[in-house]
């Protein structure tokens, strides 16, 4: 079939390249002989002609511009606004990553206290191999539900043991990755909701402390806030932070889902004078933490280090890791038993974890996803008979109640989410977290952009989100016929045959969780 009318961009651009100088000549003649006002146009065309000559003949860096000139510039223009166009106009409700519009809007609705019921069936693809929750024919009556309570450090009989009454917590986000307004909104919301907040590895948590909420202090591999100049642990500083009444627990970060096998990363665009001071570093280059704690060079030393922090802080102390290899983890467990020294909790971060700047290859390609790693770690601890010596926290894209309940069923005792709370704050997934240009004012230190984030209104969204998530979780729990999250096991899940959770067959694993 022949086409009679086509848009040939090659021809159009060649035509434009000839038309501009011709128009320039005509306009110049108009200015000479008709009216001097034509020269306004002449000047504009002169600029375009010169620019076009440079594009076609002088510059050597852009092939499209060298071949097609001015119209080629349109490509760069369109490409620069492409992400916004796709997000607003063209992407379908379930297409975007990391969170599609449906997932985001569920969080927004919870944060704004709007009912999220919808009609005419699920829009998920049911042919896909997704884990689902098994409901019981005999749901639990509301009054039979056991109230949620979890006490960290009870296994060691600590005086400072810390109890939480809500199953979700704000995951690690440092001051540095977030701006001051975002940190304070989260902290004030956490206080209102009665949940703890992890400080992230950002050094002295000035803004986290400001609002009086319970804190979990995180020690990153660079030990910001508790380091000597040479990067070793400064015990006095740690003891001082642990002595603060707001600080309830200590979390040692071994690795994180966004970039397992690599240290924290703060782009230099986001390092202000204050951040440089809190972290004790210079502000003119990207801040890259080491990939591991220097003290933790062997399995033995790793467990010793956990014990040392437990001793100095006298608080419930655990560690966070993204699982890479269950064999390594098993060695760690054996060492715990040998030294009879156990962390008070382990935070399992799935590779889908996402807050924090990370090289794309690490974001996309490294680490075990949450379903498989959580199941494997839980199973490993049970096999060694030490599951009751510690609590398990789960994190990694756990923004909606469905996924959170699945994490409980796979072994979690409590849920951490960071991006769920960022979305509650008003994150629009502009994906500019590392550039200091966050349009929602969350991951930026630019006062002009932070102006949009009013702490008083945002803290309510945080509290709403917690309350509505908890409500949905309880409804889901009742549907399974169990009375508390700790009764849930993988038997409460429907796991399609092509999804393997077994720890010894990690190679054939295709762990996916439904949203």
């Amino acid at each position: 079939m022949s086409t009679t009318f086509v848009i040939n961009l090659h021809k159009i651009s060649r035509f434009v390249n000839v038309a501009i100088p011709v128009l320039l000549a005509l306009s110049f003649a108009g200015g000479m002989f008709i009216s001097f006002y034509f020269h306004f146009l002449t000047v504009l065309l002169l600029f375009l002609t010169i620019a076009n000559l440079f594009y076609l003949n002088v510059q050597k860096g852009h092939a499209i511009l060298r071949n097609f000139g001015l119209l080629g510039q349109g490509r760069y223009l369109l490409e620069s606004i492409g992400p916004e166009l796709r997000q607003y106009l063209f992407a379908s409700d379930q297409e975007e990553r990391p969170f599609n519009r449906e997932e985001r809007s569920e969080v927004y609705r919870k944060a704004k206290n709007i009912d999220s019921a919808s009609s005419f069936g699920s829009r998920q693809n049911f042919d896909a191999s997704e884990i689902k929750i098994r409901h019981s024919m005999f749901p639990t009556p509301r009054e039979s539900l056991k109230p949620f309570s979890l006490t960290y450090g009870e296994e060691r009989g600590l005086k400072t043991a810390y109890s939480i009454a809500h199953p979700i917590m704000i995951s690690a986000m440092s001051y540095g990755s977030l701006g001051a307004h975002a940190v304070r909104s989260l902290a004030r919301g956490a206080k209102l909701a009665g949940i703890p907040m992890n400080t992230g590895e950002g050094g002295y948590p000035k803004y986290h402390l400001m609002e009086g909420c319970d804190l979990i202090f995180q020690i990153g591999t660079a030990k910001f806030g508790v380091r000597h100049k040479d990067g070793r642990l400064d015990e006095a500083k740690l003891a001082a932070i642990a002595a603060k009444p707001e600080v309830k627990m200590i979390e040692i970060k071994f690795s994180q889902g966004a970039k397992p096998g690599k240290g924290g990363l703060l782009p230099k665009e986001k390092i202000t004078d204050e951040i440089a001071k809190f972290r004790g570093v210079s502000k003119d280059r990207n801040l890259i933490s080491p990939p591991f704690h220097h003290e933790c060079d062997t399995v033995e030393n790793t467990i010793k280090f956990v014990g040392r922090i437990q001793e100095i802080s006298s608080l419930p102390t655990g560690f966070k890791l993204c699982l890479g290899n269950i064999v390594e983890f098993e060695a760690l467990v054996e060492e715990m038993k040998r030294q009879s020294l156990y962390p008070d909790f382990i935070t399992v971060d799935g590779a889908e974890g996402g807050t924090g700047a990370a090289p794309k290859s690490f974001l996309d390609g490294v680490g075990i996803p949450l379903a498989a790693s959580l199941f494997s770690i839980n199973d490993c601890l049970k096999r060694h008979g030490i599951r009751d010596r510690m609590k398990l926290n789960a994190s990694g894209k756990l923004v909606s109640p469905g996924r959170q309940l699945m994490a409980f069923a796979l072994g979690a005792d409590a849920i951490y989410t960071a991006r769920g709370f960022m979305l509650s704050l008003g994150c629009i997934q502009a994906l500019q977290c590392g550039n200091n240009t966050c349009p929602a004012g969350i991951t930026t230190h630019d006062p002009k952009l932070q102006k949009g984030l009013v702490i008083e209104s945002r803290m309510l969204r945080i509290a709403n989100y917690v309350r509505n998530i908890e409500h949905d979780l309880e409804e889901l729990l009742r549907a399974t016929g169990r009375t508390s999250f700790s009764e849930l096991t993988e038997e409460n899940l429907y796991i399609p045959s092509n999804v393997t959770l077994s720890d010894h067959s990690l190679r054939s694993l295709n762990g996916q969780m439904a949203s």
């Binding site: 006002y37 000047v43 504009l44 852009h62």
Partner: protein, 128 residues
């Protein structure tokens, strides 16, 4: 501070002075201005429009994020001025100084645009 930045600022200030010093005459309908623009067939609307654009260029070229836009605008205005001298009013008598000033401001605008080429992709791409 970077040497290029200093050179650029000196040029920016010079451009603003050259453009700015004629504004008083344009906005007060000074006889010299009326005479000059009448040779171009332009009345008060014409020279006040140009004066307004020159004022905008002065502000833009002295304000941080818009310097390159101010330089492009002043480049355009001075291109027009040079064309006026070349085609209509010439360079003799009083017009010599004005014409030379326009050429200087035009060259300085080119310099600022080049020094700050990285700030605007349309210009940046001209140089690869």
């Amino acid at each position: 501070m970077n040497k290029k930045i200093i050179v650029s600022w000196v040029a920016q200030i010079a451009i603003a002075v050259i453009l700015g010093q004629t504004l008083f005459f344009k906005f007060t309908d000074a006889p010299e201005t009326v005479e000059l623009f009448s040779q171009l067939g332009m009345g008060p609307f014409g020279y006040k429009l140009i004066g307004g654009l020159e004022l905008i260029a002065c502000v833009l070229i002295l304000t941080r994020p818009s310097i390159i836009w101010g330089a492009i605008l002043s480049w355009g205005l001075m291109s027009g001025a040079i064309m006026a001298h070349l085609t209509k009013i010439g360079f003799s008598g009083d017009y010599r100084a004005l014409g030379v000033m326009a050429i200087i401001a035009w060259l300085l605008s080119c310099l600022v645009i080049y020094l700050r080429r990285k700030e605007l992709s349309i210009v940046r791409n001209m140089f690869g």
